[in-house]
Structure formats: structure tokens, C-alpha cells
Symmetry: C2
Subunit: 160 residues, 2 copies
């Protein structure tokens, strides 16, 4: 495909439902990443600690997060600096660090989780009950077909 | 809200349309990030270069990407190592580096863009024409209400 053909194709598809849906999905993905996950993962770490009575070892936190060991260390240093968690050597295993929410950390984590729940309650407020059911059905089918697409692509790559 | 109340709430909402839609949106966001953006941003950089006749200065690339200067340098070093781009000092401005696709780089970039277009064509294949129109409408309204939510949250934070 030449550059001119590509340009023409891009202009043609710009107003297609496919293009608009992907554009919207990109927005939702970014929104969820920034608001529910937090760019730095701080919110995620605080919520994880709150769900485990306020403390976990650094290794347990790593297993429950989708970040690298280096990224987790960085986030924990920031949270410690903000007075939201403490890091102390574990009594059970001297090689491990215990990470615990401070009382300010518990307050902040609870506030974040409550905000998230409030958002979750409101996230489909623009739709009627009937539309909500239809939306779930459509997205579930799309998701299935995307997984299928990914599988076929992987199989084709393995054959090459 | 206590931990017990939160747990009960989580169990209650687990099968709600809200929860299922957010879960699906998370999947789509991740899929788009990995397949269309590429974790490292390599695909994005190659596509940008292809759209500009195969070459841009490093500064121009930075302005057109949503990455940090350090992240861009890292990606460019990888692409250079794979023989897909060359880095040479600019004739016009000695402080700038010219980044150009090699002939292999052009082939790879074209292939990636074609794959992306193919996926874009297929991404709504699970839906009927009528459903596609409804989906765009629903997502657009959701998007608007999410932006509104974000705005209200920011205003509330400014007042505190």
C-alpha cells in the first residue's frame, strides 16, 4: 500500500462506526487507567493494602500488582514520603519488607476506594436499563471476536 | 465505609452491567495499548515516520509522540539495533538528529499499518449494522457523561 492509498483509506474510514468506536474505547481505556489505576499505580497499591487489613510484604504486593519490581519500589518510596505507608523489615522473614498503611494512609485509601465505587455507580448513568443490557451483550461479543482475532494472528505468525 | 461493607458492596456489584462494562472496557483498553500502540511504542514511532516520507528529526518525533524524551531515545536505540531506522546528525541543525526508516524499516512499518487497518475493519464484525450505530451512540453519550464527572470532581477538589 502506498502512502497516498493509506491517506485516502484513513480519510474514508474516519467517520466509520469502527473508527469512532475505537476512538471512544481509547478514551475509556485512558480514563480508567488515569482515574482507577492512577498513572503511578499509587491508588492501586493503597487499595490493595486496604483490602488486606492494611499490610502486606513487598513480595506479596508485587505478586498482586501488574508492575515491575523497580516500579513498585519507586511507588512505595513516594507513598512513604507522603506519610501514607511505612516500610519495616519483616519479623518472620528478614529478607522481606513489611508495608503497612499509616492512619493517614487508611483514610486516603478508603477515600479513593469510595470515589471509585461512586464512579462505578455513575459510569452508565447516560444509558437506560434496556441499553445497559444491550451494551454488555455487544461488548461481550466484541471481546470474544477480538480474542479470536488475536489467536488467529498468533497462529499465522507461528506458521511463518 | 468499613472493610466488611466494602466487601459486601463488591460482591453485590460484581454482576452488575456497570461492573461488566468497566471490565470489558479495561480489556479493550489493554488490547488497543498492546496491539495498536505496542508496549514500547515501537509501532507508533515506525508509523509516524512512514506518514512523514520516512524521516523526521528526533525533536519532531518527540512532539508527535506521547512519550518522554528518555523513553523515545530508548525506543530509537532499539529500532536502530534492529536495523529499522538510522540516526544521523542533521545537516540543517547540528544539535538535532535525523531519524530515517531503512528499506527494511519501510517494509516493517507498512506491514504494521496494514495489520492495524485490517484489525480496524474487523473490530466490529461481531455486530450487525444496526448495532454498530447504536453502539457509537451509547459510547458517545457515556463519554460525555464521564467528561462531565471528571469536570465536577475537579471543581469539587478546587473548592476543598
Amino acid at each position: 500500500m502506498t502512502k497516498e492509498e493509506l491517506d485516502a483509506h484513513f480519510k474514508e474510514v474516519e467517520k466509520s462506526p469502527e473508527h469512532r468506536v475505537l476512538h471512544d474505547l481509547g478514551f475509556f481505556g485512558h480514563f480508567i487507567h488515569v482515574h482507577a489505576g492512577g498513572r503511578s499505580g499509587k491508588q492501586h497499591i493503597l487499595a490493595k493494602l486496604l483490602c488486606h487489613d492494611g499490610h502486606l510484604t513487598q513480595r506479596e504486593l508485587l505478586e498482586r500488582s501488574h508492575v515491575t519490581s523497580a516500579a513498585l519500589s519507586e511507588v512505595l518510596t513516594k507513598l512513604e514520603g507522603e506519610g501514607l505507608v511505612t516500610k519495616t523489615r519483616s519479623d518472620q522473614d528478614k529478607r522481606q519488607m513489611d508495608i503497612a498503611l499509616t492512619s493517614r494512609g487508611v483514610l486516603r485509601a478508603t477515600q479513593l476506594v469510595e470515589e471509585q465505587l461512586k464512579f462505578e455507580e455513575q459510569c452508565l448513568s447516560a444509558l437506560s436499563q434496556d441499553e445497559k443490557v444491550r451494551l454488555v451483550d455487544m461488548l461481550d461479543r466484541m471481546r470474544e471476536s477480538w480474542c479470536e482475532y488475536e489467536k488467529e494472528k498468533k497462529e499465522a505468525e507461528c506458521k511463518n
